[in-house]
Symmetry: C2
Subunit: 207 residues, 2 copies
């Protein structure tokens, strides 16, 4: 039996994505060619193109994976048995931490995110709307159990999501971490921002 | 009497800045050379360098001029005789409008702002701190006259400033206006964001 027969197209896609992600992180999105990814996998570029029509399609697949992970993280928070204010706080703190952990190791990942945001906007937009819906669920729960004042959960969730761009928008997180004025104290500064913005949102929800 | 004697070094700096700004807006920061600016002024590049050591120094001077304008705008709002909630709202609405008007005509201006933010961070940082102080003044006034609950004005102003990154941060305003998914409806969308974020901040300040 030929061992190659066991590799499904799905396996191949996963391998290509993993090797590409490693290259994008180490060398940078712009400087990585499909030929480099193919060489690292011991295959021809033409073979890679059988699975992905372009480098940007590979990048979009990587970002799609990140979006799925974020979706799972948020669904997990929403399902927790916690008082509504704590759950709301967990939403902002853990989402910020996730993005920061994803962006912090290598600022080259930032290019990937920017490319994906530019090229794959409908997916990102749908993802943002899904995040706002989860947030609306948490807020609606708090309105129902009396923790929060009576607001329209969807409308307030939209406002709260927009008000947290400083701590949730990948571009701003990366700017805070990687721009020329980045200092070792900036991580603590971002923690303070998360704290302040969450407190402001909770104050706006006080009954 | 030689008419040239009437041109002071300050006049020359102003002329260079004006011509450079026009070039940066029309051709783009990256594609404009100091030689182009010099040619448009009918002088040699060496003569331009007598006034500014580099292209980036000219850019910083342009951005400095914008920062001064913003400072005057905010000081004007703070001095108005208005109920505190209206004054707070004017701060966010008018500052957003100013940035949008400065960014909207030519997205090439965006490069200038990004370069300045990267190269001239202490000035931008000082500018942000000055904006937060003006905001703290408006909030402190509202606390004193009973319009707002008792908060620490400086601390709350910092939080409110961070919570308005979506509507005040040049990078995000430009992204909303110029990214590939920009649609004619986006201006109205940004107006809605200003409305929602301001309402959220005012709700957090309710007594």
């Amino acid at each position: 039996m030929n061992i190659r027969q066991k590799i499904t197209p799905e396996d191949m896609r996963e391998r290509i994505i993993s090797v590409a992600e490693e290259h994008f992180r180490r060398i940078g999105y712009a400087k990585t060619a499909v030929a480099d990814i193919a060489a690292a996998l011991g295959m021809s570029p033409a073979n890679v193109y059988r699975f992905f029509p372009s480098k940007s399609a590979i990048n979009n697949a990587i970002c799609q994976r990140i979006l799925v992970e974020v979706g799972q993280l948020i669904a997990g928070i929403a399902a927790r048995d916690l008082p509504s204010p704590d759950k709301l706080k967990a939403f902002f703190v853990e989402l910020h931490q996730y993005y920061r952990a994803t962006l912090i190791n290598e600022h080259r990942l930032h290019d990937m995110v920017e490319v994906a945001m530019a090229e794959n906007w409908p997916a990102i937009d749908a993802h943002c709307q899904a995040m706002v819906m989860e947030l609306a669920g948490i807020i609606g729960e708090g309105v129902d159990n009396g923790s929060f004042r009576k607001v329209d959960p969807a409308e307030f969730a939209q406002a709260a999501f927009e008000a947290s761009a400083k701590i949730l928008h990948p571009t701003l997180i990366a700017q805070g971490l990687n721009c020329p004025h980045g200092k070792p104290g900036d991580l603590g500064q971002q923690d303070d921002q998360v704290e302040r913005i969450t407190a402001l949102i909770l104050a706006a929800l006080r009954p």
